[in-house]
Subunit: 475 residues, 2 copies
């Protein structure tokens, strides 16, 4: 392990790796490209699970679990789907000491296995909608991996729904994108651009893919979540039919939507600094730590009593850690909680007590003295202010690094020297999209819902365009 955290300016990608190690979020596994999610990292994943499960259930979804093994033949049923996923599959050829008659794929995503079950379960409009989600591990064979962002095995949730009508399914697709948006914005304090993917960036097998695009501190884009509308494509392949209200047989309309542990990568790269991880209070498994200033070989009972009382007072509002270890100095502890990103530190020493005060130190560096009698109010204020302030800083960055450009050559120069979101006119053709990618590595991240609609000329071919789309380099 590196002794210090590499500064962002020196090497952003090393900084990212250092944060993950120093904050003990994850570690490299013995198998190439696999990640071990350590307790500090898993606690963040539990925040994702807890918040999203609440929203999913409020909107009528239920959790279930489908097998990780998919018969190889299933994957081949939908043409686009197999083209997209077959090259990334891990294949089980032997089981129980014998060669299998049909090889099994480890799910890279579960449309095929889940739809094969839906075709058994859905018979009538009374069985609809089917609103099912699963939390699972999936496997995609990646050549170049990066912690959280691109790993061979990863954790995610995938929702798969069936509906009576196209309209209902389309609404579901957007509703779920909106749930992700609320979570990412309000809990993880990450501003995002919601939009639609182009044909070439769509999920393999989808009619439409919607996404949330975030901007990291190095100004590269990161896709935070996706939601897909399938129409009846998989329904026809897997024969998911129902008797409708007029006794006619119809195919269902479907969606799927997912968020993976890459959102933890986005969290890290949005807020953290050269001192370590920075967690927005609502994303923090433990938002408050109390560090008593203890003195070795002295009676610390007065300070400890006050700290215990503080903890009791705060616990109904926030999860609080009281670090009363004697073997470590306050300085050691300050450093530890800076590394692990705890949003608010409360320092209490004997001198403070005499004055009826304590010190609140925010992870963003702001310090203040507060009266003990005002502790709860002030802790709530600081946490809520820190949450906003982290969001605002990220939002400013997103805004300040989103550029309008009309000339291809200027754009190429600019993106060469500085990443960012570039709002460019585009004619809609695959050829122009590919040309930009080949020459700049930037791709169309999305056609934003809040698209700048104006007549202009495609940045490549100069044909007419009716609105700008967002190009950026991405993770």
């Amino acid at each position: 392990m590196a002794d210090r955290i590499t500064p962002r300016k020196e090497d952003f990608s090393q900084w990212y790796a250092d944060i993950i190690q120093h904050a003990k979020l994850a570690d490299q596994a013995p198998v190439r490209g696999c990640l071990v999610l350590r307790p500090n990292g898993y606690a963040l994943w539990e925040v994702v699970q807890g918040e999203l499960n609440k929203k999913f259930k409020e909107t009528g979804h239920q959790n279930a679990y489908f097998p990780m093994f998919i018969p190889e033949s299933f994957l081949n049923l939908e043409k686009d789907h197999v083209e997209g996923f077959a090259p990334q599959c891990a294949v089980v050829t032997h089981g129980g000491g014998k060669k299998l008659e049909e090889a099994l794929i480890i799910r890279p995503t579960s449309e095929t296995i889940i739809n094969s079950m839906y075709s058994k379960w859905v018979k009538s409009y009374r069985d609809l909608p089917v609103l099912i989600n699963q939390w699972a591990n999936v496997c995609r064979w990646e050549m170049r991996t990066r912690p959280f962002l691109r790993t061979m095995e990863f954790l995610w949730q995938e929702g798969h729904t069936c509906h009576e009508t196209e309209d209902e399914a389309r609404k579901e697709t957007l509703k779920m994108l909106d749930i992700y948006l609320g979570f990412v914005r309000d809990v993880f304090a990450i501003p995002v651009i919601p939009g639609r993917k182009t044909e070439s960036e769509k999920f393999a097998g989808a009619e439409e893919t919607y996404c949330l695009e975030a901007m990291m501190q190095d100004k590269k884009a990161l896709q935070a979540a996706t939601s897909h509308y399938f129409g009846q494509r998989f329904a026809k392949v897997f024969d998911i039919k129902f008797q409708d209200r007029n006794s006619q047989m119809q195919y269902v309309y479907q969606t799927s939507w997912g968020i993976s542990w890459r959102i933890l990568g986005a969290l890290i790269m949005t807020h953290s600094d050269d001192q370590g991880l920075v967690l927005p209070p609502k994303a923090a498994p433990i938002p408050v730590v109390i560090v008593p200033i203890l003195q070795k070989n002295k009676d610390n009972s007065e300070v400890l009593n006050v700290c215990n009382k503080m903890k009791e007072e705060l616990m109904p509002h926030h999860r609080v850690l009281l670090d009363d270890r004697l073997e470590h100095s306050p300085g050691y502890k300050f450093n530890e909680y800076e590394l692990t990103g705890i949003p608010l530190r409360i320092e209490v020493g004997p001198r403070d007590l005499a004055n009826g005060i304590c010190v609140l130190a925010r992870r963003d560096g702001k310090k203040s003295q507060v009266k003990l009698s005002e502790l709860i109010v002030r802790v709530n204020e600081e946490l809520s202010d820190l949450q906003k302030s982290l969001y605002n800083a990220a939002y400013e960055r997103l805004k300040n690094n989103t550029h309008l450009e009309n000339s291809f050559s200027t754009f190429k120069e600019k993106i060469e020297s500085e990443s960012g979101f570039y709002q460019l006119h585009w004619c809609g053709s695959r050829a122009c999209e590919d040309k930009v990618k080949d020459e700049t590595k930037a791709t169309i991240r999305c056609i934003p819902f809040a698209q700048i609609r104006e007549t202009g000329k495609c940045i490549v071919c100069e044909k007419e365009s009716t609105g700008r789309v967002i190009f950026a380099k991405n993770y």
Copy 2:
């Protein structure tokens, strides 16, 4: 799907399969031996997760996640472990379209992969204890599978801990067994016999295996949970060493413990009846359903108003479902909730309202009229009484079907005609244990903590024995 549930007396194992289908708990997957856990089943698994996570965290454990892929060479490192698990492994030989240099095993259990990480993380006694748990899927290639009890892939949790001393590790092993016991007894209302496994029934690689043995309605035994003490066996293989308080290098002492979705099988086979699933109130995702007696083409607003008020009143205490669907008759609904095991049904019709009463119908058949003004108190009473009564019935069965036997021939006759727990004297030899198994299919389920300690003669060889052990046929 069978139209009706096969009665237990007719065919217990078909009854079990029918309950699972009719209560929509699970379904057969397209891959042999794999199970789809449907929403009704997953909701029960969420009860297991929620209750155990609370207990695990209260006792200082943290969740983490380790990869499902284990290099084949890892498994070979511990002799007993590989002998136990190698024949059951699923093997990934190809990834990303290429043959792998080293095949990967899908975890049948995670001792090897987790210990390889612990050897990196543990350096000093200050890093101890390591108290980590993971919720994960694992894969064991089984030839004869049975829903929940024996499936190729299954969901479970596995805790893996490291300790400074043997004493601490042994205490942890028993502490976790006790947490399982509390959960299984108090939430799932399943009485169990805690005890120790014999050499031949131990977990592959463990020094000691402790277990909880439950009795199903067909009087066969089911192992509900296990907890293993490893001593330093894996620590030596994976070189997990720490500098102790005297600056000496020592190997850690380890434990692991797990419970899988087979506990859902135990829940089903302990309480359910020929009408469907029976859930103890604390195990039920929704313990109370309100069924208004609605009349088609009439104004039902009065009844519905009262039902909505009831729901509001009850919700702070219990999760309540109000089934106000007009398209289904009350009888249809009664049947549905009998199938799915909802512990308490509240029926409210216009005539009841006129009398200021409603009907409480317990899943075990007890019905009573209660005054609306006493609803909450009476609902709480009935739920708590039902919980106790289900436990007591299961406990009586366990007691009444546990027999003392001293003659091998009588025992063989008896167990041939009737399953049960047989308390037999045993000399401690593998040969006698195997002989009983060969001739009766019964195995030693455990040496109970509350062993009947008395001098006697081994039921097979008649050598001296100092106490009785429990023999039974098992799932």
